[in-house]
Each structure stands twice: as structure tokens, then as C-alpha cells.
Symmetry: C2
């Protein structure tokens, strides 16, 4: 499964995270795009560009689409899933805050190279109930985020249905389903560790982006 074409990410999909960001609970899913050039896999490092002083971790369950999905109803939405990945939706919070203030796009703050670390591909069968898994993130061994996908505001079928009404989803597209509370800064020299309890775990060191 090549996760190659499009990343549709969902903002504010856990109430506790929306609250920690000072944001309101959304009434429709808040979608944005990340470029696939931001993917890295284990063995690579997260690189912090010089232009930001405040990159945050956001641990998220990623849904990998298995076939073309357009205007898919909720009732059949799960049939379009090939599997999952665990992902970090890294965010230059300082650049994002500036963008929000200016009414500008989020693409740069979310899109730098290495800003979407992902686990290996997890076939559907490894997560029988994606609406009830625990995801977590540690920084230098200290637990920063732990949440259950039970607490998503919009469920996976709702997200697939809604996203497919805007963008045709294609094989290998990934939907990042949002992050629970506890987001915070990561710095060069630290090590990020994230997992889906009893399913997968991944580790990424953080470095300065070489100039």
C-alpha cells in the first residue's frame, strides 16, 4: 500500500483538544490538506526548520483509503478503508497562529518536509474497532497525549463521507482523524515515541533541519 497522493487532515476533532486551543467545537469537520512530501517513516528524523520556534506534536489515527470514494454515504463508508497508520500531524504552532490571525492558509505551518511521521501500514484486520483504540505520544519518555478514538467529535464514517463530498478520495489517500489534548512543543535532541496501544509503536528523533 503506497500512501502517496493526498493527505486530508481534520482539525479540532476531539473536544478536549479544541478546548486547549481556545477553539469552538466545530459543526462540520474542519478539513485541510498536507503534502505527501511531508511523510517520513521510522529510521528518519523529524527536522525543525529555522523559521519556527514552536513545533507541536499531534498524535492521530490515520485512515488509509483503499479505493476511489466520491460522495460516499456514511452507511457504506467503512468499506472504503484499506487499513490504518499511526501518524504525527506536526504543526509549527507559531506560524499557524500567525496564519489564523491573518485569515491565511495553514499549508506552510503544517506542510514542511518531515512534518508527517507515520508508522508502517496496518491492515484493517489489525484494528477491528477503530472507534475504540487508545493513541498516545511521549516526549523523552514522558507521556504527553493519551486519548481514545471513542472521543472523536466526527466518527470515521462521518469523516469519510464528508471528505468524499468535497474531494474524490483515491487509493492510498490518508485521512488524519484529529488529535486529543496534550499537544506541546518538541525540540532538537528530543525523542518522540507514539503508539496505538496493543497495535503499534514508533520512534522518531528530533533534529535541526540542516541548512
Amino acid at each position: 500500500m503506497e500512501i502517496g497522493r493526498k493527505i486530508v487532515a481534520v482539525g479540532r476533532n476531539y473536544e478536549d483538544h479544541a478546548r486547549e486551543m481556545g477553539s469552538k467545537r466545530p459543526t462540520v469537520p474542519l478539513l485541510f490538506l498536507k503534502p505527501t512530501s511531508s511523510y517520513i517513516h521510522e529510521g528518519s528524523s523529524i527536522e525543525i526548520p529555522a523559521i519556527t520556534k514552536d513545533v507541536h506534536h499531534e498524535v492521530e489515527l490515520g485512515v488509509v483509503i483503499g479505493r476511489v470514494a466520491k460522495d460516499v454515504p456514511m452507511i457504506t463508508a467503512m468499506d472504503y478503508i484499506a487499513g490504518y497508520v499511526l501518524a504525527l500531524d506536526l504543526t509549527a504552532r507559531d506560524l499557524q497562529a500567525e496564519a489564523k490571525k491573518g485569515g491565511l492558509p495553514w499549508s506552510v505551518s503544517k506542510g514542511f518536509d518531515t512534518f508527517t511521521p507515520v508508522s508502517k501500514f496496518l491492515p484493517r484486520s489489525t484494528i477491528p474497532d477503530p472507534a475504540d483504540v487508545e493513541i498516545w505520544c511521549k516526549v523523552d519518555g514522558e507521556l504527553r497525549q493519551k486519548g481514545s478514538t471513542k472521543d472523536m467529535i466526527f466518527s470515521i464514517p462521518e469523516l469519510i463521507s464528508y471528505a468524499s463530498s468535497v474531494f474524490t478520495l483515491e487509493q492510498g489517500d490518508v485521512i488524519l482523524t484529529g488529535t486529543p489534548a496534550g499537544v506541546g512543543p518538541i525540540r532538537p535532541g528530543q525523542v518522540i515515541n507514539a503508539g496505538i496501544t496493543n497495535v503499534v509503536e514508533m520512534t522518531f528523533p528530533v533534529t535541526d533541519r540542516p541548512v
Copy 2:
């Protein structure tokens, strides 16, 4: 040349358009992403989704990247160009205005299926000087936009250099270089016509998106 992976679009890159939008002249290029699922070629129709009442045409010169570009200096930036496309960066202006007001991403307003009509691929040799071509757009035969790429705020080398410092650019990625003044609404039943003077012309009918 498959234009398949990433679309990096540039906002407010012509002073007359920034002015008509009530926006300031940017000090760095304003980048955002569009999904490749929004591409259509001649023979297809532009589809207006029911959720918007105000889709605008924006005619733009698209630069097609020929090889991997990361942290490319301006001086060699032109070497990374495989060719060009003429493009329309269609925009649901009402949804974009709401997003701007709320500090939210532009992805949905810019990303619907059919929202990036493009011409055939134009090899480099067909546009010897991309910094001096005229682009235009007509709605039902009436001229709405006509501008010269001479008037870009950030030049093509500046855009490639800057974009490649944020996102690694890959073969087939397209940079949409911004639109001159004259943007305005398109409606089902109309026909959009756009061109690069003496190089290419393209035609797209507009319909309601089927439900």
C-alpha cells in the same frame, strides 16, 4: 508528463488582484495546497457544488516541476522546470471569505473536484520567456481577465526557491503562480475560455454538480 502529486498555489501574486480583494501586498509568497483530485482537462465540465453560491475564475500560469527540488537557490531555479500548463484556480469565494474570517484553512474552498481545470502540458520550449506572457480569461465570450506575467510580485525563480524551502517539490508537481485582477463569478450554463496569447487556448463549460 503526469501532473500527479502536489499543487502548490500562490495567493495575491499580482498587485492589482491583491488590491481588488482588499488584501495587502504580501512580503513572502503566500502558499497553499490544492489536491490533484481537483484537476480536469478539456472535454470535462466545471461542476459547481450546491454548497457554494459564488465560484470565481482565477486564470494562472502553472509551472510544472521536472525533477526533485529542495532548497533550490533562485539562480538555478529555472533548471527544475519541465514545462507549463495554463490553469484556472477556481475558488468558492463565499466559503473562502468565511474561512478567512474564522482563521480556518482554505483547502475546502479551493479543493472541490473540477476546481483546477488545466490545459495540455506545454514543454519549456513553447514558452521561452515565462516572465513575459499574456494570460486571459473570458466568460461567455466576454473578457474578464487579461494580465502579463511581468506583473507578478514574486517571480517564477523566487516562487520555486521559496516553495522548495518549505516542501520538497517532485516531478509533476505544479506551482500555480497567481492571478491578475478581474476575478469574478461563474455560473452553470456559462462557458469559460482561457488562454496564453499565441501559445494555447482552452474551453470549459460550467454545470451544476450532479447530486
